[in-house]
Symmetry: C2
Subunit: 374 residues, 2 copies
């Protein structure tokens, strides 16, 4: 673990994407360092997109960080209702309305201040407003800090499926002030840990082992443990995204458990479970299926159950979910190609996975029936 | 003029954009040559986006062109209401609804069959659906064939301004079957000619002179004259777009008259005038202003009036437009940068223009007052 993790000097993880490369700043107290943000603001006008929960906590702080010592910049804000169920076109239009009423132009910068929902919506708004303006991510949840704010996937949900409308659109920078986690509810903290576990399972066995040893420290919000988990997660994500920005293949592996998870989110009702909760249950299902296919040892299955339980995450879908509901929502997943559903499944020793449509359909059926009452 | 223009062998204009390059096929009877379209369809599923006017005329023909001798491809269609006033988010959602209900995946191809409104909406839908699927443009109006289908500008209107939400997103190919113009109403034909005139004014004096001599042939729908005007327009557009895809500067010159024109479209009510009619009046205003600035000779002003009148296009905005309306809508134009409105103005001999925010505000005021009663 690096010495400066958790200190006021930011750890920097670079996302290497040629002329769309950008830094992720990670550390404590970073919102008190205006120069970090200001160097990435082009033009004179900023729109902060946030929600009713985060605005009272951090909006003033962010406005100060954007304007301190820099009187030529003016900041507007739009405060959206909080929650996955508002991640839709109707809410997105409020961002466009505000930007247009305020006469923002192409030199504007949009700032996403909040969790994954805010980051995805603000990013898509930035991609589409005047066909593209700059944006900056200030993620305030573990979920957003370790996963959704990095890599440029933006978008909104459709009633029939998750994240079906959106854009690949990279930010100018991601600023992770770990102090913002002090106000995060326990259930949301756990939700983010589901994605941390994912990185271990798909490509980083050593990180998974670290998590097994440090789960209590993470749940107790030990600053060093959290900062390390965020940094290591961002490094993993940055590496994958640099190799496959538009998800031709490798990047899809970041979606371990997400095809099952997205079906849960859409079927159970957006927002009833947090994204990471649905992903946790989905990960258990993907791991179960991998084992049924004979691709992993039972010991891995057990370790996955154990670590997710230790993180207070669900290890089965909600009872309401049926086999038919899973099949119906999984059919509109973005990883379907020419009608064939491709899945991320574990294969081989811990830390290895495949993205494939070449699996026995019987195993999928068995997994669905094992986890659903009907 | 090339020998094969107007014949069944397509003229091909290439849009050179590195790995996003694509051909524009121009000619008569091209929808009877299935191989032209089919070579650009990836995957097995196609969604044709069209409108209530064009569908009865050409939808069956396009479905045949997509499927003849190629039974593995299946085609769905979505038929939108016709007109600029439907170029909004509500209508766009119908395209997403259809694609998702039909369980289209990332290997889908969207086909825009219609005029500029359909092309812009289908293109934006293709850009955003699952964060991007392939699309093909089959423009059926002069406006779309000479301008809007080429270059990847896609988007929708907002109540407060034209084309404020969208994406730069290039098609796989543009197929211009000039036979589709046989069913185009005279007023729409003239509307498209406004953009043809534009290319002459901003960069191609020789083409402008050709238009002065051949306007009657164009209005009489002489196939060779139309095919030549389309080809020459596409060549001009392809050249500009290749040099400046994302509109850092040069590409903005294609918007001669459009800042005034967009204000007319939004202020007068989307669809009451065709886009080209608003652009024609806007071009007259831009030319008037250029002359007030002392940047062009009066002879050019006269020639612009003459050619637009010969094309039966408006040479002044609707009476309803006031100076204040122009100012208000022009303030949200995409060419505003840090509060400064940049305009495309003619400067020098015929065929030369500038894109600049460096002009005397008095000239703009005088032009607005000269063309508005209040």
């Amino acid at each position: 673990m690096e010495q400066n993790v958790g200190s006021r000097v930011p750890t920097i993880v670079d996302v290497d994407l040629g002329n769309r490369s950008y830094p992720i700043y990670i550390g404590s107290g970073l919102l008190d360092q205006p120069h970090l943000l200001q160097r990435h603001v082009h033009g004179k006008r900023v729109l902060v997109v946030t929600n009713t929960t985060v605005a009272p906590l951090y909006l003033d702080k962010v406005v100060s960080a954007l304007t301190d010592g820099n009187s030529s910049v003016s900041v507007e804000s739009v405060i959206l209702p909080d929650g996955e169920k508002y991640k839709n076109m109707e809410t997105l239009m409020k961002v466009f309305d505000k930007a247009i009423e305020s006469r923002f132009d192409r030199r504007a910068t949009f700032v996403a201040l909040g969790g994954g929902v805010i980051g995805d919506m603000c990013g898509f708004a930035a991609a589409a407003f005047l066909r593209g303006v700059n944006f900056i991510q200030i993620p305030t949840t573990v979920m957003a800090q370790v996963d959704s704010s990095v890599g440029g996937k933006t978008g909104i949900n459709h009633a029939l499926g998750k994240n079906l409308i959106g854009a690949f659109y990279q930010p100018q920078c991601v600023l992770v002030d770990t102090d913002t986690l002090n106000t995060l509810p326990d259930r949301e903290l756990a939700s983010g840990i589901a994605e941390v576990v994912k990185y271990g399972l798909i490509r980083d066995a050593e990180f998974f082992e670290w998590q097994e040893k440090n789960m209590n420290a993470l749940l107790a919000r030990d600053p060093n443990a959290l900062a390390y988990a965020i940094k290591r997660s961002c490094e993993n994500k940055a590496e994958v995204v640099s190799l496959d920005e538009k998800e031709s293949g490798l990047r899809a592996t970041l979606n371990l458990g997400h095809t099952f998870g997205h079906a849960i989110e859409a079927g159970f009702g957006y927002g009833r479970w947090f994204h990471g909760e649905a992903v946790a249950a989905g990960t258990v299902m993907a791991v179960d299926m991998s084992h049924r296919l004979g691709w992993i040892d039972e010991s891995i299955v057990k370790r996955v159950y154990n670590i997710l339980q230790a993180a207070n995450l669900p290890i089965a879908p909600p009872e309401l979910m049926t086999v038919e509901m899973f099949k119906s929502y999984m059919a509109v997943d973005k990883k379907v190609a020419d009608g064939l559903l491709r899945l991320i499944l574990l294969k081989g020793p811990l830390g290895n996975c495949v993205f494939t449509g070449d699996y026995d359909r019987k195993a999928l059926d068995e997994t669905l029936h094992a986890f659903c009452k009907s």
